[in-house]
Subunit: 167 residues, 2 copies
Amino acid sequence: MNVPLPFDPIDEARRNWTVHGWGATDAMSAATSITRAHQIILHRINEALRPLGLTFSRFEALALLHFSRTGALPLGKMGVRLMVHPTSVTNTVDRLETDGLVERTPHPGDRRTVLARITPAGTEVVVKAAAALAEIEFGLGVMPATSLRAIDTTIRDVRLEAGDFLP
Amino acid sequence: MNVPLPFDPIDEARRNWTVHGWGATDAMSAATSITRAHQIILHRINEALRPLGLTFSRFEALALLHFSRTGALPLGKMGVRLMVHPTSVTNTVDRLETDGLVERTPHPGDRRTVLARITPAGTEVVVKAAAALAEIEFGLGVMPATSLRAIDTTIRDVRLEAGDFLP
DNA sequence: CTCCGATACTTGGAAGTCCTAGATTCTCGG
DNA sequence: CCGAGAATCTAGGACTTCCAAGTATCGGAG
């Protein structure tokens, strides 16, 4: 399988970065860590969802619809809420529709807008998927609750500064 | 442009998650935050590298070669050090080679192995790119040094548990 | 010395993300 | 009321990542 390195590759990068005088070492290290963390948890999450025929992004879209009052939302609004590009939503909804978990319906009153509506099959799957993800704790089982909260709080500043939402 | 939401979408997800009794709310929140943070910094980094004709993954590969004693490494070793799949390295080196920033050379003594060697053009570009990234602080300029360190330390546990390296 | 499993890389395919560029449809100011 | 600009979605392309399979090579067991 995957043999672990005898040293931490990010520590090694820090050393090299410092030796070469490239600056912003802490930021480099944090950015690399976040990238790797994303990779690890995404892999674990998708592994847990595979038996259900879902991926993380499709699950997120499905959960958003499930949470909505009427079970339907305009694609554009979904993109904003999920913080992804509009074309990604089109792609995601395409797949979900192919699998019968969502259906597109016209918006009454605005013919530009398309609504995605979760189907009964979609509801059934999203509930199972949520249980599967809670089971593996989103791949973050080793992290104590205080660390999880700390990550949240710290990253909130970045999201805020990036203009995701108002204070 | 991108109008900020009047509320934090991750907070909203926490509420929904809790109301539905889906469990592991803190883990869900942290996983979503990490995903979003990755998205934000990757976008900023690639923006800063675009004028140089690089992407983040290509920069990482180039920097690794630049740091190596001889300027050349087997592709397999690069994959382990960069913590990505072997086929991703093949892809990345393909692009870098097309742009004349690295060249493939045979390994003396093992004909299975292919070495990627950084070229003078590659060296020139990677130094400029490092300066550009330090300039924008890897998209993490808002984060104080203590937060950057905290992120690092916390995520180290996840990477360790994922088998990235030995303690 | 030969054979067969392990290693190293590449190919082809599936997913996801984003961007640029259309085609519709709505809205509001003149 | 009508036309220009804004808003909404889709199409096509670039990029990354991964997986599954295939080819070539090495190296140790018998």
